[in-house]
């Protein structure tokens, strides 16, 4: 995996996590609230539909019952108002049928008088049923037993659906029967008018499961779910509401109530999806709105998160760049510190050279400048000038070798040699501060790869700090190198003023300094930390106020040369990481 794709996928996963978090936090409560409100609304709506069905079915059942009772009442009044002789008269029947039809809008189809033996004595109506024998008919025997009777709908002798309202007229100890046929269509309209939605339908069944009305569309009355109601103990004037899953068809809701003294059942049925159509629409809209807004929020969050992630990446890159600049600035600051010492160091040989030149001028100004004494003196002075010039050259070369721009190239390092070089660089400074440097080098250090300029900077920084930490009476700096567990250990210990415990935790922080303003950048140790961490090593400090400070650096010794090369490939990026790490740990 290359660095680029790694960063890309890292960025993507950050964006994804951000989006998921926001969606979860924002979406879950919304989903929860939505669900509860929908549930509550659903319950309320369900109750409303149930109540509506109950009221509707009860109202219609009363209307139908009233219709039946009224028709029976009509015939009973008629039966009691006249004698058998009158009814036996064909014209009388015709006249009364005409009156009934006139009053009740053609509900009654015909009128007949049946003798106790079951033979019709008189008849008025559209069919030629004179002298028809009803002795075997169920309604005939039922009416003989009770006083009146309303039959189920049946086809009977005439071949068209109808039902009979019959009243028994006792005469001469025998039961005559006045019978009227009620028009099926007039009755059927009462029921078929009950229509709700597209699938709502009402019909009447008798207890045998036979249809008493003609439903708007086909109803499987015998084997359908209605079966369960046929033997149900239904209370009069109460409506039973039941939802039932038909084995084959759609889910249905039923409203059931008894009719005709419990002999018939009024059933209203509707597909649940139809009954709750409004509810389903609401549910659909709610779900749609939720998904719609969810999608918008998701999109918005995605773009916001992406922008944020990109911005953060940008800031990190900028920070890395700045870290580089900080390292360079710190190096320049070290050079500045060095320069002050070195300017003085260079000033001494220059002063000598000027004096020797002046001395030569003095000698040449004599009246006789070419005496052997003068010549040898001039020779000595010139040699001295040459010597001092050489001294200057040495000093400038030392400074230049350090002032080169940081070279991150990884090279094999002779740590002992590098330490010696750095000691000569602070030589002047230590001499004037009365500081002695003692070294204890392990001559068999394992091979080790690093950027020479960076490591030089670390050693020089620590040496400078140690010298600065000394009191005016001077002190001793002890430098040692050794190997332990495959690690190269470098310690630089001084017996200077030490670091207060309160400051100890902060000394590797960038810009932290206890020196007066203008004298320290506070970058030295933070840069040392960054460089050592980058090399996979560690830097630690021990200090006691008034007793001195010891810096211990451990560096991993490379197993072989390829081990060192690996550091090379990731050098720059690792450097940034290490520095970023330094900043993070604050």
């Amino acid at each position: 995996m290359t660095v680029d794709t790694f960063q890309e996928s890292h960025e993507q996963s950050k964006t994804r996590n951000l989006v998921l978090t926001v969606m979860l936090v924002a979406g879950l409560p919304l989903l929860f609230i939505g669900f509860i409100i929908l549930q509550q609304f659903g319950d309320a709506y369900h109750n409303k539909i149930t109540d509506h069905l109950t009221v509707l079915v009860r109202k219609h059942s009363r209307t139908i019952d009233n219709f039946l009772i009224d028709r029976l009442g009509d015939i009973r009044v008629l039966a009691r108002s006249h004698t058998i002789e009158e009814f036996a008269d064909q014209d009388f029947l015709t006249k009364n049928l005409a009156i009934l039809r006139e009053e009740y809008g053609g509900v009654f189809v015909d009128l007949g008088l049946i003798a106790p033996n079951g033979v019709q004595q008189a008849y008025s109506g559209p069919f030629s049923l004179d002298r028809a024998d009803y002795a075997g008919a169920v309604w005939f025997s039922e009416t003989q037993q009770s006083q009146y009777y309303i039959s189920d709908v049946f086809t009977g002798l005439r071949g068209s659906p109808h039902f009979i309202v019959a009243v028994k007229i006792p005469w001469k100890d025998q039961g005559w029967i006045l019978r009227a046929t009620v028009d099926f269509n007039a009755f059927n309209d009462l029921v078929s008018n009950i229509r709700i939605g597209t699938t709502g339908v009402a019909f009447i069944l008798n207890r045998a499961g036979e249809l008493q009305t003609k439903p708007q569309f086909e109803v499987d009355s015998r084997s359908g779910p209605h079966r369960n109601f046929l033997n149900a103990n239904l209370e009069v004037d109460k409506v039973l509401i039941e939802e039932n899953q038909d084995t084959f068809g759609p889910e249905l809701i039923f409203a059931v109530t008894p009719l005709n003294n419990g002999r018939w059942i009024l059933i209203f049925q509707q597909e649940v999806s139809d009954a709750f159509a409004a509810w389903n629409t609401t549910k659909m809209i709610a779900v749609f709105l939720f998904l719609f807004w969810g999608a918008i929020v998701a999109l918005f969050t995605y773009f916001m998160s992406r922008r944020m992630t990109l911005r953060i990446e940008e800031v990190i890159i900028q920070k890395d760049k700045m870290s580089d600049q900080v390292v360079e600035a710190g190096r320049l600051a070290s050079i500045g510190e060095l320069a002050a010492g070195i300017a003085h160091e260079i000033n001494n040989p220059v002063a000598i050279m000027v004096e020797e030149a002046g001395w030569i001028q003095d000698l040449l100004a004599e009246d006789n400048p070419t005496t052997p004494d003068n010549l040898s003196e001039i020779e000595r002075a010139v040699a001295q000038i040459k010597t001092q010039g050489g001294r200057c050259k040495e000093i400038t070369h030392k400074l230049l070798s350090f002032a080169r721009k940081t070279d991150p190239t990884i090279k094999q390092i002779d740590l002992n040699e590098m330490i010696r070089e750095m000691i000569t660089l602070v030589d002047q400074k230590t001499r004037y501060a009365s500081v002695q440097i003692e070294t204890q080098m392990d001559p068999d250090l394992p091979p080790f790869w690093a950027s020479a300029t960076e490591l030089q900077q670390v050693i020089l920084n620590l040496l400078n700090n140690s010298v600065d930490a000394m009191t005016s009476s001077g002190g001793i700096i002890r430098i040692s190198t050794q190997t332990s567990d495959g690690q190269i250990i470098l310690t630089i210990a001084d017996n200077g003023i030490g670091i207060a415990e309160a400051n100890l935790a902060r000394i590797f922080d960038p810009f932290y300094t206890t020196k007066p303003v203008g004298q320290g950048t506070g970058l030295g140790l933070s840069i040392c930390y960054g460089i050592i961490k980058k090399l996979g090593g560690d830097i630690q400090v021990q200090s006691a106020k008034g007793r001195g400070t010891t810096f211990t650096i451990s560096l991993p010794a490379a197993q072989d040369k390829t081990g060192g090369r690996e550091i090379d490939s990731g050098s720059i990026t690792d450097h940034h990481k290490a520095l970023a790490e330094t900043h993070k740990e604050e």
Binding site: A343, H344, N347, N348, I352, G358, S434
Partner: protein
């Protein structure tokens, strides 16, 4: 040489610097201008030589480098001024230690010079320092004489 001292008795100079070559050559050049020169390579040695001289009589002026290992210029100056209050001191300094030279002036040095220095400038300063010192000594002598005269007169 072109130099002529303003005083009848040639001034006596003590040159203090840790660079042996510098001290040696500068001493030769000063000696060539008919001044009496001694040298010291450290502050302690300078103090020893002043002490051996027995007070202020042997040396007129001390030329003192500011930056020296061990006892530095300012410490040496303080010690000289404590033991020999009339001794005039000229500080020699590099660019980086001008502040120290100014410190020295505050602590009673006569003047300061930047290294490497022009020999004529140095001699002019020595001359002025010697004049000042001799005048000063004369005033003390006069004051003493006056005091004695006053005592007798009364």
């Amino acid at each position: 040489m072109a130099y002529r001292s303003s005083t009848l008795v040639p001034p006596s100079v003590l040159l203090v610097d840790d660079e042996a070559s510098f001290v040696e050559t500068l001493s030769k050049r000063i000696a060539k201008r008919n001044l009496k020169v001694s040298s010291a390579l450290s502050g302690l040695e300078a103090l020893d030589k002043l002490k051996a001289g027995g007070g202020t009589s042997k040396f007129d002026v001390v030329i003192l480098d500011v930056k020296m290992p061990g006892m530095d210029g300012l410490e040496t100056l303080a010690a000289i001024k404590q033991k020999h209050p009339n001794m005039e001191v000229i500080m020699l300094t590099g660019h980086a230690t001008v502040e120290s030279a100014i410190e020295g002036m505050k602590a009673g040095a006569f003047d300061y010079l930047m290294k490497p220095c022009d020999i004529d400038l140095l001699l002019a300063k020595i001359d002025r320092a010697v004049v000042k010192k001799r005048e000063h000594e004369e005033k003390i002598v006069q004051a003493r004489a006056q005091m004695i005269a006053l005592k007798r007169g009364v």
